[in-house]
């Protein structure tokens, strides 16, 4: 026996060194896979909300804005959720890279796999209506809506005919008073207004309007819709209803 072998075996016996049990390694591996799974799950949730919010945009207004569809989508993208998606993707890649044989895969393959998983699960969550419920829950968080700043930029543009705000007075049904997103008060003529969506018009409701600014803080509305698109059945169920 070599001197080194003798010394090592001696130390193992003297100090009663034991190999670490298999379950410890299994547990560590499971934690890494679990963290990878959680990162993909949260990434999928972010993806599903991105899809939900993109669908929530009123695409008919991009022509009225004089913008291209690509420009409109770029402005309307929910960047907060896009950033979260990127963050969770990075976490998923990090954890996958730290699995037992994760180093064997090319970094682009790892990113691609994590992205495809997030898109597939995210689309699934969106199609089954989970993203709608998530969005509903998030809307209860104060200032959550402010994160969707693209939408605020689009609808805070009375000179171009886009105005949004909260109804502060219903008036006689022809004129309403509105506090816009900058907290300025507007007198809005809604006589010629077409409801773009059916909803309850009352004090405290936030709305968006298409029309013309007719003077200082005076606006004539042609189209009116609630600020937030009302929750609808998820796309999968809507399609099933249509088939009936």
């Amino acid at each position: 026996m070599s001197q080194l072998a003798q010394s090592i075996i001696g130390k193992i016996k003297k100090e009663k060194v034991k190999p670490t049990p298999k379950w410890v390694f299994l547990f560590k591996r499971s934690v890494i896979w679990g963290l990878f799974g959680l990162s993909v799950l949260f990434g999928s949730m972010a993806m599903s909300i991105i899809l939900f919010q993109l669908r929530d945009m009123d695409y008919s207004v991009y022509k009225e804005m004089g913008s291209s569809l690509a420009g409109f989508v770029l402005l309307a993208l929910p960047y907060f959720w896009v950033l979260l998606l990127i963050g969770f993707l990075a976490l998923a890649c990090y954890h996958l890279r730290h699995t037992k044989s994760g180093y064997r895969y090319n970094v682009f393959a790892i990113i691609g796999l994590s992205l495809v998983a997030s898109i597939l699960f995210g689309t699934g969550l969106y199609a089954t209506g989970v993203s709608g419920n998530l969005e509903k829950a998030f809307r209860k968080i104060p200032y959550y809506e402010r994160l969707h700043f693209g939408k605020r930029i689009i609808w805070n543009n009375p000179e171009q005919g886009f105005l949004a705000g909260t109804i502060i007075h219903m008036g006689d049904g022809r004129i309403i008073l509105l506090r816009d997103l900058k907290q300025e008060s507007w007198r809005v003529d809604i006589e010629k207004t077409k409801m773009r969506r059916e909803f309850e018009m009352e004090r405290g409701v936030r709305i968006r309007l298409i029309g013309t600014a007719t003077g200082d803080y005076e606006f004539e509305a042609f189209g009116i819709a609630p600020w937030l698109r009302p929750m609808e059945p998820p796309p999968l169920f809507r399609r099933m209803e249509l088939k009936k």
Partner: protein
């Protein structure tokens, strides 16, 4: 106590025997101590005493982690990986730059493969002197390039083994090896060991 018989037993068999009886670990130590000691020396140029201490720590770590070894992978690559990580972390902890030490003839000669045709190894003296110079150049390379060159040209590992030891994809091994060779060639040109390829 019955003497332990190591012959004709594969590494994988020895791992499972060691998990039942620690005495079998002796076979694995004997099989790899020289190779690993040489690898640590090539990578770090630590002195013999430090290498022995480090090697003891490495083997104890290998023993403690035997249950983490996956028999689908090569045992040799697995213990080289542990050795590599321990050597590098020891090296970084002590913040020592590799120092060139007296080396055997073969130490730098394998690297001369990177510089084909331009060098004639006339006699042992020239060969040894060149080997010394080449080895000194290797030490000037960044750590990751040094490791990949040592594994390829001195330890004679293939791409897959290097990938398993350094925990990088085989494509990255190829890229790093290519870059390492180019940097090495440039250093060799700067030190008049090699003529540029177009001359």
């Amino acid at each position: 106590m019955r003497p332990i018989k190591c012959d004709k037993k594969s590494d994988k068999q020895l791992v499972s025997l060691t998990l039942k009886n620690a005495d079998y670990f002796e076979c694995l130590v004997q099989r790899y101590e020289e190779k690993l000691s040489r690898y640590i020396r090539r990578l770090t140029h630590l002195d013999t005493e430090t290498i022995e201490d480090l090697l003891q720590e490495v083997f104890l770590k290998i023993y403690k982690n035997l249950n983490d070894y996956n028999p689908d992978f090569s045992f040799s690559s697995w213990i080289y990986r542990i050795t590599h990580n321990e050597a590098i972390s020891h090296f970084r902890k002590n913040e020592k730059k590799p120092k060139t030490v007296q080396i055997d003839n073969e130490e730098g000669v394998n690297f001369l493969d990177i510089l084909p045709d331009n060098i004639s190894l006339r006699d042992d003296y020239v060969q040894k002197e060149l080997a010394q110079k080449v080895r000194a150049l290797i030490d000037e390379l960044p750590e990751k390039y040094r490791a990949v060159l040592i594994l390829k040209f001195m330890e004679e590992k293939n791409y897959e083994e290097i990938s398993d030891i350094l925990e990088i994809p085989t494509g990255t091994v190829a890229t790093q090896l290519n870059r390492a060779k180019n940097q090495f060639k440039q250093l060799a040109i700067n030190n008049h060991l090699h003529k540029p390829d177009n001359q």
